[in-house]
Symmetry: C2
């Protein structure tokens, strides 16, 4: 018997309101808005080189999101679900006319002073970034749809973080201002996506065990985001030791 099953035997399902509150409690504890790397960013204390490392590594994450969402599409037998979820792939990949999130992130990379080719090739990204992103794609590949959808619920918390971030980036790093289109779009996309996903999880969690598994999925996703910032902090802030082969900012 799996751990969540053991813990929930004989336990009643949480009422909807309490179930939803549990996701917010997880976010309060584990979402990366509290990570020291973000705190430095928002206080204007990152160097251009540190922002380059962040944009470069985070591009690898961004570029895999529509792959992750395509796995989720492939696991659903419900056309209405797929129609709603497909929006995420379009948001990131674009519609062939207007640029999507990936292209916009490349413009952010360029605004930091790196070439877009470096991001496209993943040249110098941290192995830890690669492993965390791979773990996310694997998670949705190997878990039931309920858990995969629940893992996306970090978007419940992203609007607040992005609003603060755009504000602080404009204030402290004005030279980045031309590269912030990505965030403007996410401020409306993420809450729409989160609203759909949350309603779907609430509707499709049929037992206390399902509910606990949905919580575990959100925790796992928070771990994936957090670990990426830990690795950036270690390599580029303190102690500041990029691993062999990783990007090194110009002195």
């Amino acid at each position: 018997m799996s751990a969540p099953a053991r813990l929930t035997v004989g336990k009643k399902m949480l009422p909807e309101r309490e179930f939803i509150a549990g996701f917010h409690a997880i976010g309060e504890e584990r979402y990366h808005h509290k990570h020291p790397f973000h705190l430095l960013m928002h206080e204007g204390k990152l160097t251009r080189g540190q922002l380059q490392a962040w944009a470069l590594n985070r591009y690898y994450y961004q570029s895999h999101i529509p792959m992750k969402d395509s796995v989720i599409l492939a696991h659903s037998e419900d056309p209405a679900f797929r129609l709603a979820w497909r929006k995420r792939v379009i948001d990131h990949d674009g519609d062939g006319k207007k640029p999507g999130g990936i292209e916009k992130w490349l413009r952010l990379v360029e605004a930091t002073g790196l070439r877009r080719e470096q991001a496209l090739q993943g040249d110098g990204i941290l192995p830890a970034t690669r492993f965390a992103v791979e773990a996310y794609v694997n998670f949705v590949s190997t878990h039931p749809l309920l858990e995969s959808v629940a893992s996306s619920l970090t978007e419940l918390f992203s609007k607040k973080l992005i609003t603060l971030r755009v504000d602080r980036l404009r204030e402290h790093y004005p030279w980045l201002a031309g590269g912030l289109d990505y965030f403007d779009a996410r401020m409306t996309q993420a809450p729409e996506d989160a609203e759909f996903a949350l309603a779907w999880v609430v509707e499709n969690a049929h037992s206390r065990e399902d509910q606990e598994k949905a919580y575990a999925a959100l925790r796992a996703k928070c771990d994936i985001l957090w670990a990426q910032l830990d690795a950036l902090y270690f390599a580029y802030v303190e102690p500041g030791w990029p691993p062999p082969g990783a990007f090194r900012p110009e002195a």
Copy 2:
């Protein structure tokens, strides 16, 4: 065309001696014998809590090695290869009478003062450990046998590291002495395994592209080992911030 292919078009195969020297050059640059966490360990500068975190996290890696080797067994069509490689699974899992490497590592965990159940359950291990170990199992699951075998060649370098480690652990942390059986066994097992794997890679690399792919596989494996120590150092040495939910040593 993949990157190694592009780089190697028109290039001649390296002669055996030069090919082998290339693996050693990669090890010299990237193997984790140089990692600052190991340097502290060998200088006697780690606390009991830091050694607990190391033993606990490394157990997760150890416990997945025979799974990784079973994937390799599953990918070989050659009974003689499987017979030779099977030894690795026996070395780690034991023969039902004598304890294997996994059991010995549990005794090391206990020698640090943690319960074996904590390691068995993976309770409090760093997400970054999980992601790196998962990346290793995925690597051999998704790459040709040549690259999977080449990824094991970190064992070319492990005898020297283990010899030094056992010596320094006995010297600086005498309370650990009862838990070091794992390393005694590895001092003969690892060189035997590495010798077989190296000969096999040399025999089965049929082009310069194969040779470059074998090098890339060894680099990827070094990244997997290095990233685990980066995460330990970040969480437990400097800045010393375990992520939410991770093991925290007693003060």
